[in-house]
């Protein structure tokens, strides 16, 4: 088929046939893993390949991990890791398919690939690899949001930096629309700077009154959290930009192979290529002094949040009849010193009796 239209029609028809096949196959699988809650014990009808895959994954997970044979921790742990990996594998496939189609139709250019991929899917795949937890960031953002609400009434004069940030961000909208990752980072930085120079200053206000120590610590914990969120965003941004750079390399490599007539024969070949190229690209990032510094700063910011939390907990729990962390530390130190002294007095301990 030399003609592109012919190819496209053929491709559509074959995809349709395959979809029918997979629907049929999925239904058969679902019959093996009956859902007690669903009508007739079988999953409801499906729509499209991704739904089919999701249902398949869900069916497998529920059937194997829920009850019966899959009850042991070993089975659960092993299969959950495998299923999680295969899910990332499928996300990569969904992202990759239109790219390859474009390469085949010769509508692809290195500048246009960003229009074809769904960054959300790529982000999800990278999230699975790096174990990022967007939940943590969301929680932090929600806490900050609640704080904004509480402070808004008395912070009218603080609006100027926000207006300036908004003006700057308006200029980045065209780049945002194009999905340029640096534009997102710039917009985030503008907002964070506005936050830091307005509400952020509240965190450093010297508190007064009976509970000043608690208030100071509470404000300090918000400050730590905002620093952590900023650093975490910078870290994730670095990861995604590197991921996209890796993707460009993968695409260049596949295009070159296609032009030579050595295109990958199955998805696994593409997957291996993607893993190898990504691994090398990230290795060069990880090896850099800048990344080491950023990672060190992120760790320190996270530890500050955690450490601050522990201190706050101690303050709140002080009146309860429980041993606090610092008190246990003292106890451990005493036990350690006593044991050491005892050992020096006893000399070499004896063998275990047979």
């Amino acid at each position: 088929m030399e003609n592109t239209r012919q190819f496209f029609d053929g491709w559509l028809q074959s995809q349709g046939r395959i979809l029918e096949g997979i629907m049929d196959m999925t239904r058969k699988y679902q019959e093996s893993f009956r859902f007690p809650g669903a009508a007739g014990g079988v999953m409801p009808p499906l729509g499209g390949f991704p739904d089919g895959y999701a249902s398949w994954l869900s069916a497998i997970q529920k059937a194997l991990l829920g009850t019966g044979a899959g009850d042991s921790d070993l089975v659960r742990e092993t299969l959950s890791k495998t299923l999680s990996s295969s899910n990332a594998y499928q996300m990569l496939y969904e992202m990759w398919n239109p790219l390859f189609k474009a390469i085949q139709e010769k509508t692809f250019s290195p500048d246009s690939y960003m229009d074809m991929i769904d960054p959300k899917k790529y982000k999800e795949a990278l999230d699975r690899v790096f174990g990022f937890d967007p939940e943590i960031v969301s929680q932090g953002a929600m806490q900050a949001s609640k704080l904004f609400e509480a402070l808004t009434g008395s912070a009218q004069e603080f609006m100027k930096p926000w207006v300036e940030a908004s003006m700057k961000n308006v200029k980045t909208i065209p780049l945002l629309m194009e999905g340029k990752p640096n534009a997102y980072m710039q917009a985030y930085n503008n907002l964070f700077n506005a936050f830091d120079s307005t509400f952020g200053r509240v965190f450093h206000v010297p508190p007064v009154g009976k509970d000043r120590e608690k208030v100071k610590m509470l404000l300090g914990s918000f400050d730590d959290l905002s620093v952590y969120l900023a650093k975490y965003t910078e870290y994730q941004h670095t990861m995604y930009v590197t991921g996209l750079a890796a993707l460009e390399k993968v695409i260049a490599s596949v295009t070159e192979k296609c032009n030579k007539g050595e295109d990958p024969k199955c998805f696994d070949e593409f997957f291996d290529l993607w893993v190898d190229v990504s691994e090398d690209t990230y290795y060069h990032l990880f090896q850099s002094a800048a990344f080491s510094k950023l990672q060190g700063e992120l760790l320190e910011a996270a530890l500050n949040v955690r450490g601050h939390n522990f201190k706050l907990m101690e303050l709140y729990l002080y009146d309860y009849p429980i041993a606090l962390r610092s008190e246990m530390d003292d106890l451990y130190k005493t036990v350690y010193d006593l044991k050491k002294r005892l050992k020096s007095l006893e000399g070499q301990p004896g063998e275990v009796a047979a």
Binding site: M1, G10, W11, S14, Q15, I22, Y29, Y53, W56, I60, L64, A69, S72, L74, T78, L79, T82, S84, S85, Y89, Y93, N97, F100, K101, Q104, V129, F130, G131, C258, K265, C266, F267, V275, D276, E279, D280, Y282, Y283, F286, Q287, A289, S292, Q295, G296, L299, L303, R306, G307, F310, M328, D329, Y332, Y336, K339, K340, K343, Q348, P349, E351, V352
Partner: protein, 396 residues
């Protein structure tokens, strides 16, 4: 133009999905047949306990042909059963078959009660007591030390502090020169706020360290490994070996805060060991005090402890009988690879047997360089660490 590719790719993916489903179902059935993942199965006897530490003596069923006992000292990170992970690929069983008398330290799992346990406690306390006990049991003034990874660093420090108690020193994939940036861990640790980490955690969790290890090869270790697992999931024997490795990788004790603080700050960040500035307790460590025979083993593709961190030891010690052994593999391949069983363990055994007399090397030409006493010993410069190329999923 290959016009059928996309359709074929989709078709292949559908087929793969079907294959995966079948494998998962069959694999789940195989998985439920395992009661436990058995590791460290070579017979042994507990001979000494101190706090969380346990010292084991392996049961030698054959004749002991090398009279000086060997004390194996593993790292505090992960567990010592790596040396006996599976019966058919066990350095321990291999050395037992070669007539060695083996002891091994199990450092245990520190809890918050151990947060003040220091490097001084580990070396001048626990390790020193174990050495003395093995000396007493064997009736020997000196014993052989075999240190693995961080345990190798411990053994070198111990040998410098107590040279009169060590007959031969063997170090495997152990770091000594921490100034290198070849390994990511060495690069990353330079910017780590160690005090904040230890003060926050007290006992730094194994999971925290594992997150760092997984980051060394994130795509391979988080993704490809489990996709590849499907290829062996129906084969009970291969799956069991995969699960043994998986168990070992994530069986990571927490790290006693004070010890980790000094190890990271004095060694990783300030490289005090090679500078002769390291103090353990009230003793300063001078590597020139290591005068006993030294066998220093490094792995050419080691991404955790690169050769550039291991090799300098031989230039820093006072020993005249010293050898470098280049293992053609990675950090873990040293213990579980086929080459490890066929080449490395027999070479270690030979080296020890040659030095089992009263100080003199048996069967050795007087003017032969020490390095030449090992068939595979080399002073060649290894190729630079490539980072990603050729790395396999089961390496750590």
């Amino acid at each position: 133009m290959n016009t059928t590719y996309t359709a074929n790719a989709f078709s292949n993916f559908v087929k793969e999905l079907g294959d995966v489903s079948t494998k998962l179902v069959k694999g789940a059935e195989v998985l439920t047949k395992f009661d436990d993942i058995d590791v460290g199965t070579a017979p042994k006897e507990l001979v000494y306990e101190e706090d969380k530490l346990q010292l084991y003596h392996y049961t030698q069923e054959g004749p002991v042909t090398c009279t000086t006992p060997v004390l194996i000292v593993y790292a505090l990170v992960n567990r010592q059963y790596m040396l006996d992970l599976q019966p058919d690929k066990s350095v321990v069983r291999n050395l037992l078959q070669h007539g060695h008398d083996l002891y091994i330290i199990d450092w245990g799992y520190p809890t918050k009660a151990d947060m003040y346990t220091s490097l001084d406690d580990y070396i001048n306390g626990y390790l020193h007591n174990c050495v003395n006990l093995v000396r007493k049991r064997s009736g020997k003034d000196k014993i052989n030390l075999m240190g693995i990874c961080q345990g190798g660093t411990f053994c070198a420090i111990y040998s410098a502090l107590y040279p009169e108690k060590v007959k031969n020193l063997m170090t495997l994939v152990a770091p000594f020169d921490f100034s290198t940036n070849d390994g990511l861990l060495f690069n990353w640790s330079k910017n780590m706020n160690v005090d904040a980490m230890v003060d926050t955690y007290r006992i730094v969790p194994g999971d925290f360290l594992n997150a760092g290890y997984l980051m060394l090869m994130p795509f391979t270790l988080n993704l490809r490994k489990y996709v590849d697992m499907l290829d062996v999931i129906e084969d009970k024997h291969k799956l069991l070996n995969f699960l043994r490795m998986e168990k070992w990788i994530f069986d990571s004790p927490g790290q006693a805060g004070e010890c980790l603080r000094q190890f990271l700050k004095d060694l990783y960040q300030e490289n005090k060991l090679v500078k002769g500035e390291l103090k353990v307790g009230d003793k300063t460590v001078n590597l020139k005090n290591i005068t006993m025979p030294l066998l220093n083993i490094y792995a050419i593709a080691d991404h955790l402890v690169p050769p550039s961190a291991t090799k300098p030891l031989n230039d820093l010690v006072g020993s005249t009988d010293k050898a470098l052994y280049e293992f053609k593999g990675g950090h873990i391949g040293v213990f579980v690879g086929t080459k490890s069983q066929k080449e490395l363990a027999p070479a270690i055994s030979k080296w020890l047997h040659e030095r089992d007399g009263n100080g003199a090397l048996s069967g050795r030409v007087e003017d032969k360089k020490p390095e030449e006493s090992l068939e595979n010993a080399t002073r060649e410069t290894p190729r630079p660490q490539s980072g990603g190329a050729g790395r396999k999923s089961k390496r750590r």
